[in-house]
Amino acid sequence: MIYHLRHLTSFRYTQPVTFVYNTLHLKPRELPWQNIKSFELEIEPAPVVQTERLDYFGNTATFFMIQSPHDAMKVLTKSIIEVLPRPIAPQAGIPWDTARRIMRTNTTPNGLDAYQYSFPSLYAKPLDEARAYTLPSCRPGMTVHAVATELMTRIDTDFTFDPKATTIATPVTEVLQNRRGVCQDFAHLMISCLRSVGIAARYMSGYIQTVPPPGQPRLAGADASHAWVSVYCPQAGWLELDPTNNQVADEQYITLGWGRDYQDVSPAKGVLLGGGQHTVHAQVDMIPESEILQAQKNRPQQQIQHQQQQQQSQYWWL
């Protein structure tokens, strides 16, 4: 599937801001199942510095800095991406309770890379509560694959999608207690659960395609940033699960990058010097190329939940 992706993030301040320091994780990651055919990044007002680097996890991070007074800022990315089916996740595998032991003895570069995702991180710490929630899905002999898939389904059943319930700073414990949240909360919760029983899991940042109800036209800007989870099944590989929609990630998912949690790959984080309040608005269009070519074609599919347009702000004031 080839997508034309357009992601616009607009920032508006009540008082002019002179300095903005930003780190973006907005460039889709090149992967065996994901070809980046083109990518453009436009920032307004024009930054004085804009540099790209590969971060520790292999994602592209863009640092930029604006140093002229402005009361609005726009970050726009436009890309054309081909998403292929992901390698089929193996059903067989090792029992969940041997995962940690196997991982710690594997000091190959891949083994080490996977192992690091079983350790606590700022937003996804292993917790007693998370462990208690996970244990019913950890029956003797179950594979890592089976545990993770069952956990995903339970989260989807037990938790309500509610954009008003949480903010970026809402801890996993609170999400567990209130049983409400958005994709990011469910991803953090699931990672926390898996880590607390010794399974490595990473936070996936990207987009998910929404399909309009049958007979209705696609709404501009209705697609969304999305977060899901990738679980490491030792000896088999990574398995991408979306607890928000209870499904295995497929060609509907575009990957920006991954990290231990949101903190490592938040699409845009920055520090502003200036005064006043600010609002952030995000607009994502993820249009299949086929649809652009045959504008009228509709395919009925299940409605997909996604994060609301109004993004939680990741900006702090200095």
Binding site: F19, V49, T51, Y56, R104, T107, V271, L273, W316
Partner: protein, 848 residues
Amino acid sequence: MSTLTDSFRPLPGAYPEMVAPDGAIRPHWQPMLRQLENYGAINIDARWKRAQRTIRENGVTFNVYDDDKGSSHPWMLDPVPLMIAPDEWEKLSAGLIQRMQVLNLTMADLYSEQTLLKNNILPSELLFSNPQFLRPCCQITPPNGHYLTLHAVDLARTPSGKWSVVKDLSQAPPGAGYALENRLVLSRTFPTLYRDCGVERLAPFFSALRKSLEQLASGRTNSPHIVVLTPGSHSSSYFEHAYIARYLGYPLVLGNDLTVRGSEVFLKTLAGLRKVDVILRRQADSLCDPLELAGDSLLGIPGLVQAAIDGEVAIANALGSGLAETPALLPFFPILCRNLVGAEPLLETTPTLWCGQEKECRQVLDQFDRWVIKRAFSDHRENPVFVRTLSPADRVALADRIKTEPEQFIAQESVALSSSPCWQDSKLVPRNTMLRAFIVATEKGYQVMPGGLVRTSPQADSPIVSMESGGGSKDAWVVARGTVEHVTLLPTDESAIQPSRSDANLSSRVADNLFWLGRYVQRADMDARLLRTILRRLTEETQPDGAPELPELLRALSQMTTAKSGASPITDPIKQAAETKVLIFNMIFDRALPGNLHNALISACNIGSTVRERISIDTWRILDRMNDELHSAATDGDLPDALEMLDRLLMPLAAFSGLSSESMTHGYGWRFMDMGFRMERATMTAQLLCELLSRPASFEAPVLDAILDVANSSMTYRSRYQSHVAALPLLDLLMCDNSNPRSIAYQLVLISRHIHSLSELSEHKVLPEQRLADELVLRIENCDLNQLVQTDAKGCRTLLKTLLTEISKSVQELSNHITHRYLAHVNATSRLTSAYGSEIWDEKADEA
């Protein structure tokens, strides 16, 4: 050998530093002890008392975090140095150098290839569960491969006499500055002792540090701009930061003084932005860049990591170097050493086990009593726990914690520390002793500070030596072989220094702080004078008709020193004695009253402490004395006690202005301080005159007398007009006479002069504040006093009131101009301070 050592008994079981097994004094201690003997106990005591006063007055302090009072403790120094023999020092140095080398290589590997993990040299958990491993720092390549430029190692000497490493300090190793201060105090107090012992000097170490910092910028510039970055005056070793900055000759800066523009780092100065090439940082990684390193905190310099990645700034020690001081790394040192330098460790490490390994964890729990439990990663500030001292319940609780999170703990064998002699109650007593050694990485190799910071336990039986737990410190003297080379940090090559008179590179924050230091000192002075005038009238029977001006003075006092006067005005101070006393004491001591004497003095001292490196030691002592005087008076004493305190307090206040005008170079820094001083005096004098003269009583003389008293101008007045007191000549003297240093005109003339001088910093020709200042001077010099003293039908001097109010407003406007032009973007705490000042005034202005 001598009477000093006759009664000395070393601690049982510990290695005695001074005494050999046969009871004789070790040879390398003998010359020093002989000299000490020559001074004699009485002389030692006397000199030491003096030295301790110097330490206190120099403000050598150590802030203790958990202290409720938030106060700082005076630095405890012992007059008897720890002597170290040259052979022994050579061996120790070689071990320290090897240690720093290995840790530096470890950092380089873990932040890039991680072969140590791939080859199973280090368990990967050690890195992955380590909060000090900062992934954004992997892209930084420090110049010359120096992750660590300065490193410190805590050493203990075991009963066998071998030195053993207890701890590494690599992030921003503290203590080198204290070691230097200890050396200076000791050598000053016992000059012959120091001279005749042939001790290795410390200066070469610091000159190596300086060279090494300069080299970090090599390839980019030949004359690097180097700054010392401190978290601020609340940091436990702020004294040291200021001290090192002053000694090395670098500006001391806070995070807010620096800004990243493009991918370069700049210092905000009065003259604009000045590029910074090297940062000697004295703060933790997590305080350095809120964008990349801080989690969800806001502290630091946004963009610093990117600037370091781009190689535009070098940071010592490199960002991320907290990793090297991970306590859980200690047990792995031998294997790292073999692997990275192909040699056996030259220095022992205190036996340590990391509980993150199964076998080791079991071993710890099996023989639990043997161990001292510490946190495995250095982000936790927890005291070590001696398991054998725990109650059975606490033991179980601790064991449970270890079982739940084994990777978070290490167990260290408790070391019997060596014992060395300390001077107490006029004799030598034994104390547990540890040595902190310092190493610097230079282009030519590593160099060890010959000496170090020695810390001693507070009591003989205490196993903990730390400044936090009330221990003391000592100097360490390494006996030199042959003659001692004299090295000074003053440049020897005269052509290397370009004469420079400008201090335009003064950071905006420092200028802002100096400005407010001036304002607060002057506010305290005016508050104290007004209070003294009132107290004199309350306590002394000077006038036959009592003191009719008292209610007026009390009203003026409440108006001038607080934003709101809640209580009803006092109409008869004699009858309302109790209320009056409460009012006066609140005006002096109440911490909650923002505009009073207490707060002005505390603010002055606090600000003074943040610009320590900019004011002379004498000026600092004066600030310290003000603080002492304030605290010397009982807050529940009598009025005469308070009067006496005010009399004493006015001395250092007067000394402050004298000293600042005589001993500070009259550069921009001084101009800002003096401008603050003048603005406050002009404003408060205008307020005083406005309060007391705009609605005159029928018999005005007592009020006029009081004003002259407050304004310290009685003498001048009487010499001109004898005892006839009237409003017109008084206004001439206190408002218009620009030869009277207490008059408003005098302040305005000086303010105007400062403003003109500062305008050299700006590219514009004539600045609005220059015009405003000139107008103000003209206006006050040309006002018609005859008209101003006239009262209207309601008995008010409306014209006078208007003029004085406008003067105050204009001065405030000048202050705003200055702030916006030179001091913008200074840190938040300063901004709060200035807001507070204008708030008070605004309220007054609204009323007027």
